[in-house]
Amino acid sequence: MSGNRLPAACAVLSAAGLAAGLAGRSLLFGWCAIILIALLAALGFGTRASRRTAAAVACFGALFCLLIYLNHALHAPDGPLVPFAGLPPGTAVLVYAVGPLGLLLGLLYAFSFDNEILPKERQKAFLDRFGPRK
């Protein structure tokens, strides 16, 4: 269970995201969205998360910020089409990287499930004390 720091950071990011979006600052807005998602993921893993998991969540956020940047940087509508695997480079980043790399979070969840998300002993202790319907 997290203290107040992560939720407070989520509030700050929400405010920053609102301001950036309404002001039309697309790169900043995209980064706020991604960092907010990473913060929510960190909230889900909680304070019991290992350093390795925390580092993986941070990498997830950083990687996606980079992808958003690449979407912006590689989009060159004034030049000729130079396709990457059949798509314009910026779009290729979306289709071939944003989607598949998003699965990292699911992998991280699976690999940390037994030790961090829900160790069997914690589950047993909770259910022994309160359930079913005690």
Binding site: M1, G3, N4, L6, P7, A8, C10, A11, S14, A15, L18, G21, L22, G24, S26, L27, F29, G30, A33, L36, I37, L40, L43, G44, F45, F60, I68, N71, H75, P77, D78, P83, A85, G86, L87, P88, G90, T91, L94, V95, V98, G99, G102, L103, L105, G106, Y109, A110, F113, I117, K120, R122, Q123, F126, L127, R129, G131, P132, R133, K134
Partner: protein
């Protein structure tokens, strides 16, 4: 909607409708209590939960509206679907474990039940019940109208008889079999959708002459269209990333399925499997829209009057009959499974959540009244869809955003943050309802539109999150019940 006069397509659709009846009869025998009706007795395996989750999230919008959006504005809407790879795992991460454990120790059948257990008091579950009822009415109306339109196209009959047939089948299996029938038709539909998504992608590449040729045609037409942001621009696309990337955590028809899992430890791989399966479905969303627009640009097909016709026209004219038949059956299945999930949620809100919040106890003979409420909601939604089209369109657009802004802060953050309070929960849900409705209404009536194409739901989600955390920190700390306190530490 064009007319599908092929006997093979009609056969596929009729076979699907008949199978719904079969599943309804089978499920009726397994539905004895309100827990069976709303949560399938918490008896489902991981495959059923995974497939039922992606099926109910995809809905008719994904099969018809998604390709239509791509046809209209290029890559913009891809930001809605490709983010599902992490948004659905995020949902498992934030709420899966705690909702499922809560269902083990308390009499929890619905999201407002969970909110009542987490925060106590009358207002949080009442506000959540209200948000869910409003969202459900809108979603149901659009799904029911879509059922009528698809059956009209396939069977070649008028809208009213088409609606009567679709509603008859839907009423039978959802009233008789509750969510048990719903999730097993979802399973059937999900497997079908996964298969046809891959088949349709291959067919699109064949018809369009490969991805590079498709891109070249579209680049020559408008580089922005096939660029990463589409014609709606970066802010609109990124607001969809935010709304769909985080908002999936707040879709009650998806997260309720996590409470139905028989063995909580099976959550482990379900998160990854759900995200990966949804990515496969995204192929259909992307490929049909791009290919149809390419064909129009090459003058191989006349421009479409309505972008939503992209998928049905492509299927009728460019795919083998059997594949088209399977996709039409899958389309009908997608719409009906989502409608069934919402009927179930709506019945729970009307029969259980709101009465419990107001009277402090549920109705007697809950199973009987749930079936009555399911039937009544179906009739009411059909009436709204037929005679109050504007209201339904408004509620339909505000459904996803309202669920996201109401449920993400209060449930997803609230289940992971002890300092969250009931006042914060009620205030954030009120913010979600008011902002979504006011902004959608004012945009629709050209009173005020948000700048840069930013999605209303994304603004509401950010504002509701801010309100939830701010009000929680500003109100006195609450001491949750002993089991909830322990749950928040698990």
């Amino acid at each position: 909607m064009p007319l599908a006069d092929s006997p093979l397509i009609i056969l596929c659709v009729v076979a699907y409708l008949a199978s719904c009846f079969g599943i309804g009869i089978w499920a009726m025998r397994r539905t004895h209590t309100s827990s069976d009706f709303f949560l399938a007795g918490k008896s489902l395996g991981p495959l059923v939960v995974v497939i039922a989750t992606i099926s109910s999230v995809m809905s008719g919008f994904g099969f018809v509206g998604g390709p239509g959006l791509v046809y209209q504005s290029g890559s913009s809407s891809l930001w809605m679907v490709f983010v599902a790879a992490f948004s659905l795992p995020l949902a498992f991460l934030l709420v899966g474990k705690r909702l499922r454990l809560l269902a083990e120790v308390r009499d929890i059948l619905t999201i407002p039940d969970a909110v009542a257990a987490r925060y106590g008091g009358r207002w949080p579950p009442l506000m959540m019940g209200l948000a869910i009822t409003l969202g459900v009415l809108g979603y149901l109306g659009t799904q029911i109208m879509a059922v009528g339109m698809v059956l009209r196209a396939v069977l070649g009959i008028e809208l009213i008889p088409a609606l009567a047939i679709g509603l008859g089948v839907l009423a039978f299996y959802s009233i008789a079999g509750g969510i048990v029938a719903g999730v097993y038709t979802d399973l059937f539909q999900g497997i079908l959708m996964l298969f046809v998504s891959v088949a349709v992608l291959l067919q699109c590449l064949k018809v369009g002459g490969g991805m590079t040729a498709i891109s070249a045609t579209l680049w020559a037409m408008d580089p922005e269209y096939i660029g990463p942001w589409g014609t709606r621009g970066a802010i609109a696309s990124l607001s969809w990333l935010l709304l769909f990337g985080i908002g999936a955590v707040g879709q009650p028809h998806a997260i309720t399925k996590m409470m139905m899992l028989k063995d909580i430890r099976r959550l482990k791989w379900s998160a990854l499997a759900t995200g990966a399966s949804y990515l496969v479905l995204a192929m259909l969303w992307m490929s049909i829209g791009l290919t149809m627009r390419t064909l129009v640009e090459r003058s191989a097909y006349p421009a479409l009057e309505d972008p939503d016709l992209a998928a049905p026209l492509f299927l009728l004219h460019y795919t083998p009959e059997l594949l088209a038949g399977l996709v039409f059956a899958g389309l009908l299945a997608a719409i009906m499974s989502t409608a069934d999930s919402f009927l179930n949620l709506g019945a729970a809100a009307v029969v259980r959540d709101i009465p419990k919040a107001l009277r402090g106890k549920p109705l007697r003979n809950e199973l009987y009244w749930s079936r009555v409420a399911t039937g009544a909601l179906l009739v009411l939604s059909a009436f709204f869809a037929l005679y109050m089209e504007n209201l339904i369109a408004l509620l339909g657009t505000f459904g996803w955003g309202t669920f996201a802004a109401a449920i993400v802060p209060s449930v997803a953050i609230g289940m992971n943050w002890k300092r969250a309070t009931g006042a914060g929960c009620a205030a954030s849900i009120a913010t979600s309802i008011v902002l979504n409705f006011a902004l959608e209404f004012s945009a629709r009536h050209e009173i005020y539109a948000l700048p840069h194409g930013i999605a209303v739901g994304a603004v509401s989600l950010l504002a509701a999150t801010l309100v939830f955390i701010g009000v929680s920190l500003a109100t006195p700390e609450e001491t949750p019940a002993e089991d909830i306190d322990a749950l928040l530490e698990v």
